[in-house]
Amino acid sequence: MKINAGSLKKGEFIFYQSGIWQIQKSDFYSPGKGSALMKTKIKNLINGKNIDYSFKSNETVETLDVESIEMQYLYKDNENIYLMDERSYNQFTVPLSTVGSVANFMKEGDKVFVYVHDEKALNIRPPMSVRLKVIETEDSVKGDTVSGAKKQATLETGVTIMVPLFVKQGETILINPETGTYTERVKQ
């Protein structure tokens, strides 16, 4: 569907300059001289890179009809992640370069929403947070109460992140997979 760039919304997919992009941010802006603009941050689904781009608000862009389907994350190899649509049992792949570091926080069997266009998976929709178990971290020294101090912790998916000192081995924590940052401890 062709629309004015001025109507672009976060989350939409567009076909632009021979690539498929997802709108990460869109902010109307009128400089009061010449055309009004749509300041956007767009993510290229092929290489996963974000760029800032200001569209003329009256510029025509083509949006893509994209479905969001819940799938099961199966596994990953060096190039792709593999997913299965549990209703149709169809298997889909998304390149790791597209998924980015979010893949480090995905556990086999996790449910994840996948953007599908023309029967091809474009990318996953990163969840707001993921629950993962801390499999290795040093015990903090008693009396070390510097506020905001952090230590390394390895999670069950093998990735290492920084966590507050009070987090213990074996505990489950919430992480924002897009930024890779600790958000809170989950009570068992």
């Binding site: 109307f28 001289k33 010449g34 603009l37």
Partner: protein, 336 residues
Amino acid sequence: MQIQTHIENLKKYTVYLQVKEAVNQFLKKQGYLEIDLPVLSPALIPESYLEVFETQFNYFKSHKKLYLTPSPELFLKRLLAYGIGNCYYLGKSFRNHERSSSLHEFEFNMLEFYKVKTDYMGIADELLKMLRFITKKIFKKSYLFFQGKKISFDRWEKISISQAFEKYAGINEKELFDHHLFVKKAKKKGYRVRGFTYEDLWSQVYVAEIEIRLGTNGLPTLIYDYPKEFAALAKLNKNGQTAQRFEFYIGGVELGDCYTELVDWQEQEKRFFEEQKRRLKENKLYHPIDKGFIEALKYGLVDCAGVAIGFERLAMIFADLQSISKLKLINITYED
């Protein structure tokens, strides 16, 4: 459309009030007269870069069209022609077709002040004094921190449009003012040019490559002498190529727009017709041109200069926010 209540913004709203108080104090101290003005008018200045709101006054079977003013300029210049002297308006203005965003609301507050017997650089001096005054009032210092960066109001960083395009976009003066060369250069840079005017592309390059750099070196930036295509109501420079217009920025945010006012009524009338033609061509809402404005110019507008400042944007800087909506207790937001 939705009404949203944001009581959590109360603290930032009080900063907004402090800025408002400081501005009023400063302008009064400098001898500017505060002017209260209507926001509904039967005619407007034709401006092709903005859209207006239309409503009507009904009395029995008579219906009269009225328009919400996108700026107080048409009223203030009338008063200036009649000799009011230095004056200002701080109140509502309305712009249709501007979706709520970090720097836009279709209903917003505008500060506009005019000084007689001066030009745009005279306003620049006054403005810097005003910024310093507000900072001193609120922070008891001559600088502030905006998004972690120190901004000092000791002086302006001044840069002309030509210098800025050369420095930040690699576009030389010849390419900048020649429509054909500019479009060619923009195309080479990867911009979509087909079907777009020089003005459209200029604006796109300006926003993408120039604006983000302005007001980011620890000082407020004043960028001046815009191409004549963006002269609007500003006097042209002697070269005929640029207009005496400046804008000022802090942290990449445009805060205000200043002109040495055009006092030649014939030239102004000509520009009005051009703007009105462009409005119609772009399918903008028809509204009558304010002929009384031209009459006022004929009567004789004293040499003067004025600046229009998006007041929420200004307050946003002092409140250290990235979005004007964070200053508001009540927001009307647009939803698709």
